[in-house]
């Protein structure tokens, strides 16, 4: 069964490491819908969060292939129910005199903050689970979305365990 799974990667922060990882996506035919990279909080390491679409065999193969890359130190599934998952969106919505309150109703329901007002647009920032962000986007669609940028997801395992625990 195809479903979405989140993988956390801890990688050596060497030049080219992003290319080594992303080139595997096409080479091995993995279907990725989100990728984020940031410092891992340990010197010399970066953390990547990847969301892959695939069945269990494909996810297993993905992790095994990732672990063969010399610069990859760890690759683990972060199950959505036992992980804190979040992403951020900036979204610019069209408004005319008839709809600003309707737009604001939607954005306040998702705790989005207004970051800018233009002549015919409002720009909001919101953070939440990918599902919440998807729902907000879909509700705003009828008012006319001018543009948007999503960061992709970040995820941490809940509890005390850390991907960054390395000997």
């Amino acid at each position: 069964m195809i479903h979405k799974q989140i993988i956390g990667l801890l990688v050596h922060n060497h030049p080219g490491v992003l290319l080594r990882i992303t080139s595997l996506f096409t080479r091995r035919g993995f279907n990725i819908d989100s990728l984020t990279v940031s410092p891992a909080g340990i010197d010399g390491y970066s953390r990547m969060t990847i969301r892959i679409n695939g069945n269990d065999d494909q996810v297993e193969q993905f992790i095994n292939q990732m672990m063969k890359i010399v610069d990859v130190k760890k690759a683990e599934i972060l199950p959505e129910d036992t992980s804190a998952v979040s992403e951020l969106i900036l979204i610019k919505v069209n408004y005319d005199n008839t709809n600003p309150n309707l737009v604001l109703d939607v954005t306040s329901a998702y705790h989005a903050s207004l970051v800018n007002i233009g002549k015919n647009s409002m720009t909001f920032r919101a953070a939440g689970t990918p599902g919440e962000i998807d729902r907000m986007v879909s509700e705003l669609t009828k008012y006319g979305i001018l543009e948007m940028a999503r960061t992709g997801i970040a995820a941490l395992e809940k509890g005390d365990a850390c991907l960054a625990d390395i000997q």
Partner: protein, 557 residues
């Protein structure tokens, strides 16, 4: 001691016991070649005609010795010419360190003369690659490169070094390489689980591959197969890892494997896969491969489990360890009826050849005559195509590391370079290269190298004047429309050889073969034999791509 980057490269090669390198000089590696001049009493450099030949030579050197092959090339085209050789080694998990020069740091990323991003280009065909921009990193990068190439599942590693780094100086301190040990990942319970299944087997087979040779695990495999009395099929890459003369040996498995290996795979209740990877040339139909069997896979690379075929039990680790552990865990068994049945299938497998003729020799006949003249330690190299399959079907290999062929990538033009590397590494062994006129035309420039170093390689060109393997597919699947496969080139390979200063001979038919080959072997000198075979000779049997033994073709025009 203060050394230049180039001298550090030489010292690090010596640390790893490298006494032979293959390569071709150029602007960006002038410093390295200057150091090789200084170290010429300790490191032999073999100069080829083309960098591709050097890469294949390093590959042949590695396959026949188990050591890491080393190849050096300059920046830009020198580096890109290595690409096919590196990809060939990658697909067959052959340990290799490729060292390329690059333009100086201050010229990098400016499209300078002979600059190319070889790290970017080789990323998907190396286990890892490095660009060394700081001389202080150089020694450790080289050490890491050897370690990566030789540990776990082996493979090629590339080190790109800008010219100013090889010219700069820094402190060098000798380091003894740490011994490479591969972790046994599977635990006792995994062995017990696998053993339980094997103990219940009525119709087991072993499907082995190149991993057995890579791990030097031939003795462990033999002991295991004998203990459980289990017939053995091999991929092309595994040839030599199990003696062909052994009663349990069935032959090769897959597209051009024998009828018995196909039937045995189809009827097996358990398939024990040892260092093999279920490529499409073995498991044409991934769903139907071993359809009634539990599959147990032993491999050093965890990513091979469930990659192509669904695996029921896996043992991960060095094959020497997993095979020894499994042998200990299983009960001795006898499978009298099953081995008899397999033997019976073997008798039913017959292959048609073209009729006898005065103007053509038969491939099997030539291979048999060569086998009469070689001993079990001699090394057989091939190019890619029909001749390669005929040799893999027919030649009786008894020992590991006596067989060099491009199994995974299928690189036409691989053979002569690999034969050179084999000959340099094994001066006491006979080296025979079987090639075809198509493959040989690709890289025959290396005859100049063969002559320069006076390497007594016997090259047998199975010359059918056509691109036989592709032509065979056109016969079967493209309505005999022979698009670009009938070049009928007029090359006289015997005279061509003479022009390189290499002895040229001819075999026109079967009756001439024994005598000409005997004469060629007696020369103990570089020799090319132009061996005329029929353009209509086919490789049979054949399982069409994506199909099973039930669809096996045993006869065709």
């Amino acid at each position: 001691m203060q050394l230049t980057g180039a001298e550090i490269i030489a010292e690090c090669l010596l640390e790893h016991g490298v006494d032979t390198v293959f390569g071709y000089p150029g602007g960006a590696v002038l410093n390295i070649y200057d150091a090789l001049y200084k170290y010429s009493d300790k490191i032999t450099h073999i100069l080829t005609s083309h960098e591709q030949g050097a890469a294949h030579a390093a590959d042949g050197y590695a396959r026949t010795t188990g050591k890491c092959g080393v190849v050096i090339a300059t920046s830009g085209p020198g580096a890109t010419n290595l690409v096919t050789g590196i990809a060939t080694a990658y697909m067959d998990s052959i340990p290799m360190v490729a060292i390329t020069g690059n333009v100086s740091n201050d010229l990098l990323a400016r499209d300078s003369f002979q600059e190319v991003d070889i790290c970017g280009i080789t990323m998907p065909i190396t286990k890892h690659n490095f660009i060394v921009k700081d001389i202080n990193d150089l020694a450790n990068v080289i050490r890491k490169a050897f370690r990566i190439a030789l540990s776990g599942r082996k493979g090629p590693v590339l080190i790109d070094i800008p010219k100013d780094v090889t010219g700069a100086k820094c402190e060098y301190i000798y380091e003894k390489p740490k011994e490479i040990t591969n972790k046994l990942v599977s635990g006792e319970q995994d062995f017990l689980n696998a053993a339980k299944v094997i103990n219940s087997a009525k119709r087991p087979i072993i499907y082995m591959g190149g991993g057995v040779i890579s791990a030097d695990a031939e003795k462990e495999l033999l002991e295991f197969a004998e203990k459980i009395d289990c017939p053995v099929a091999t991929s092309i890459m595994g040839l030599g890892g199990f003696p062909s003369s052994h009663r349990l040996f069935m032959g090769t498995i897959g597209m051009h494997g024998g009828y018995e290996t196909g039937k045995a795979t189809d009827n097996a209740d358990i398939i024990i896969t040892v260092g093999a990877r279920f490529s499409d040339r073995v498991a044409g139909d991934r769903e139907k491969f071993g359809k009634d069997a539990s599959i147990i896979q032993l491999d050093i690379d965890k990513a091979e489990i469930n990659k192509n075929v669904k695996i029921n039990y896996s043992l991960i680790g060095d094959l020497k360890d997993t095979l020894a552990g499994l042998t200990k865990a299983v009960n001795a068994a006898k499978h009298v009826e099953w081995t008899k049945q397999v033997e019976q299938w073997g008798k039913n497998s017959s292959v048609s050849q073209t009729p006898d003729s005065d103007i053509y020799a038969h491939p099997y006949h030539i291979i048999d005559e060569v086998r009469n003249l070689t001993n079990d330690d001699d090394i057989i190299v091939t190019d890619v195509g029909q001749h390669q399959m005929w040799v893999s079907q027919r030649y009786r290999f008894e020992k590991p590391r006596t067989w060099c062929t491009s199994g995974g990538l299928g690189t036409m033009g691989y053979g002569l370079g690999a034969a050179i590397g084999s000959a340099v590494a094994n001066p006491k062994k006979r080296i025979v290269l079987f090639t075809g006129d198509g493959s040989f035309h690709m890289n025959l420039n290396e005859l100049a190298t063969v002559r320069s170093y006076n390497l007594p390689i016997v090259v047998i060109v199975m010359n059918n004047t056509v691109l036989g393997m592709v032509r065979q597919w056109q016969k079967l699947f493209y309505g005999r429309r022979f698009s670009q496969t009938d070049p009928h080139r007029k090359t006289d390979f015997a005279r061509l050889a003479e022009s390189f200063g290499v002895c040229g001979m001819r075999i026109n038919n079967d009756s001439e073969a024994a005598e000409v080959l005997k004469e060629a072997f007696a020369l103990n000198a570089p020799t090319v034999i132009d061996c005329r075979i029929s353009p209509d000779e086919n490789v049979l049997p054949m399982i069409p791509p994506g199909k099973t033994v039930d669809d096996m073709i045993t006869e065709m025009e």
